[in-house]
Symmetry: C2
Subunit: 451 residues, 2 copies
């Protein structure tokens, strides 16, 4: 039996980073990564394979960094974990021993309880090379694409297909009142929906798919809760995802409310030699202390770093009490981002909030070419002024602007901090120092706090 | 004599923000802003008036926000300040009384000791409407433009002229070994210089202008320290600037080493009723505690906010020990940014530093259209791991990426904080969660720290 100082199970971002960072920081240790698929993929790139890249091979997570660092990559499916013997067993029968084990087994799509999901041309969004390549082929041939679920993945696939093909009708069916509603307040969701519609995408909110109807074993239409039956020669189900933690549960690790592996602030599980990172590990909301169902590649990568440092005995503040999610996306030319809690979510949790809003040109003077309006909303706790959440919409600069707010929220910034902080500005790159919308929104909130 | 609760002298960003924010947060107080020029301008927009906007009227700082908030705007030149009587005297003879006074009198260009600077078609870069409009007219007619000084303003003017006119030869003469050397380490300066050269700009570094030679009272050439005499029908001197603090000095306020007004962490001067903000106020480097000659519109605006809160008795952490400058600029399609100290400056101050470097595609996968390489350098103190400075170069996302680093530095982040922090990523907007260069550079530094 081969034995490794550090064995990582799973080839997504959490596993990749855990393996690479432990090896880089401690080159004398033996590190192996075992994963099921021959080719690993970039999970966030999946929606862009279909219309922009048009090639699953352009969305590969390369092995070179792992191999160059000296991480052994093993292709194989883990069928069980033996915590006592400190080994994993592969479906081939091979056993791999470990001193420290990192579980990064990811997530899988939740099956929806709808008749007809077993028909041909009905796809869940599975984050693997083969599944991505198959779905791409199906999209190329389809005429009427129905996407079930208007969260990030559903919206991004719809956008990428509508923007890059002229010959397809695309519809999003979402059960909530708005697309992207888990991450944005309604006024921002509406900006997104307008932009989606401008690309020709039809949106049905407050609507459930009740049945998929087939002909010759292949889907041909979808019956909706509105009573309509709409043509559909391709259905993509982009609903929720669930932690893939069965192996861990069978091995006897402690599981949380979302059936994910319970971890502490350093990604340690209930077994002293096992860490869990990414979608398979439970998250915690640092503002409420509650478990949270959020899943993102960037969070998985973060947890990979936290676990690596902890495994090697390098001091850090770990997860700092939980995960402040930082999302971003772009719909045509409208970039959107969100940090932490929405106003609606904060209120639902019982927070007394103060909200600041601001809009400014993202270049200054606004007469400069390529200017777009940049809108920022900040959500503060009224009691101590702490930043609980933020939303932004504008041009591509939103992608890093949300990280400004993400770092501020993670370091515990308050409205008073934000108002007195230095933000660099440049005519062609940002809003003006006078109207910079993070500052202006903080000032707006402060004015309300003082009333 | 009219008397105001809050009187602000100066119409640039520092004065504008001081007046606007005090009035907005305390609408019952009377607030006036007195400035010399009829039209206020956006100082950072000046370089882009010449080639991009081609119109000084497109670079106006509008009065509407001030007037809508109820700030009285007085056009007039302040000729003296009477601290005892709490009033200022205008050159018209009018007197304006105050309860609290904010000085935001800006800066002026340092005169260089070179023969011939009084010739026609020799311009200093003066941040006023009239001066900008005149220089724009002169640039339109010029053939051989020589720019003295390769700092931000010199580089930006050179770039804007070269990029927008096909018919002009542009040369930068810089006395230091590199352009932008006060803000970037040599490897980043070289990226900037390559890009400037690709626009056809000629660069002479390690070179002084020794004499400007005229014909009929108008400049026709420049003699350089290299012995060359180069044709020049327009010379723009973009050298240093000096605090415009003579009024304050005459009034008896305490002055600092750079002849700027001494202020504390809340922008208070040596007189209990007077605050100073922007270029006329002394800055402090929070890492060394030393006075610093840095001047930026964004810093002026920040100090305006700090002064406004302090005047109104609203608690804040003020300047937090000083100013971490956050710069950004863009040369053609190469955006560059810097935060805090360069590696060279930190070493010169005696810091034991650890540097981390990383380069990554600014989209992921890198096959996505519009991808640019994004390069990040982080400078940490070896003793406590604190982030002292950062430099970045890449696409337009650098404009907000430096603010991520600016907020981190201002909130005291260490290499351990950065490595374990969440950064949002998106295929079309940022680098990948695995290669995100702030993280990757922090990891690089950490690996060196642990050796």
């Amino acid at each position: 039996m081969r034995k490794f100082d550090i064995l990582v199970v799973g080839g997504g971002p959490g596993g990749f980073v855990s393996a690479l960072l432990t090896k880089r920081l401690s080159p004398d240790k033996s590190v192996a990564l075992v994963r099921r698929d021959e080719k690993a993929i970039i999970p966030c790139g999946v929606p862009y394979v279909f219309g922009t890249l048009k090639d699953a091979d352009k969305n590969i997570l390369p092995d070179a960094p792992l191999k160059n660092a000296g991480v052994e990559v093993v292709i194989g499916e883990v069928s069980s974990i033996d915590l006592k013997e400190k080994k994993v067993v592969l479906s081939s029968g091979e056993e791999l021993g470990y001193e420290k084990l990192v579980l990064a087994t990811g997530s899988y799509p939740v099956r929806i309880p709808v008749k007809g999901t077993d028909l041909g041309n009905v796809f869940y969004v599975v984050k693997s090379y083969d599944a991505t390549a198959q779905l791409k082929d199906a999209i190329e041939k389809a005429k009427n694409v129905v996407i079930v679920g208007g969260g990030f993945i559903g919206v991004e696939i719809a956008e990428d297909v509508a923007r890059n093909y002229g010959d397809k009708k695309v519809m999003i069916v979402e059960m909530l009142p708005h697309c992207l509603q888990r991450n944005f307040d309604p006024e921002f969701c509406e900006l997104a929906e307008e932009k989606l519609k401008s690309l020709g995408i039809e949106i049905k909110t407050n609507t459930l798919v009740q049945e998929l109807v087939g002909e010759g074993g292949v889907v041909k239409s979808a019956k909706l809760s509105t009573g309509e039956e709409i043509p559909a020669d391709l259905v993509i189900i982009a609903g929720g995802t669930r932690a893939n933690a069965e192996l861990a549960e069978k091995a006897g690790l402690k599981m949380g409310v979302f059936r994910a592996i319970v971890v502490d602030d350093f990604c340690r599980t209930s077994d002293a030699n096992v860490w869990a990172v990414g979608d398979c590990a439970e998250k915690r909301d640092p503002f409420t202390g509650k478990p949270s169902p959020v899943m993102l590649a960037s969070i998985a990568a973060r947890e990979g770093r936290v676990a690596a440092l902890n495994i090697l005995g390098i001091g850090s503040k770990g997860l700092r009490g939980g995960t402040v999610p930082v999302f971003s996306t772009i719909i045509d030319d409208l970039a959107m981002g969100a940090v932490g809690m929405t106003e609606s979510a904060a209120k639902a949790e019982g927070f007394d909030v103060i909200v600041g809003n601001a809009t400014a040109p993202d270049k200054h003077p606004g007469a400069l070419p390529g200017m777009k309006e940049l809108r920022v909303k900040l959500i503060f706790s009224k009691v101590d002024g702490r930043l609980l959440g933020a939303e932004a919409a504008g041009g591509a600069s939103v992608g890093e602007l949300v990280n400004v707010l993400g770092v501020a929220a993670q370091l515990g910034a308050t409205v008073y901090d934000l108002v007195t902080m230095e933000f660099g500005t440049h005519p062609r790159l940002t809003a003006s120092p006078i109207a910079y919308p993070i500052l202006a929104a903080a000032q707006d909130a402060l004015a309300k706090l003082l009333k």
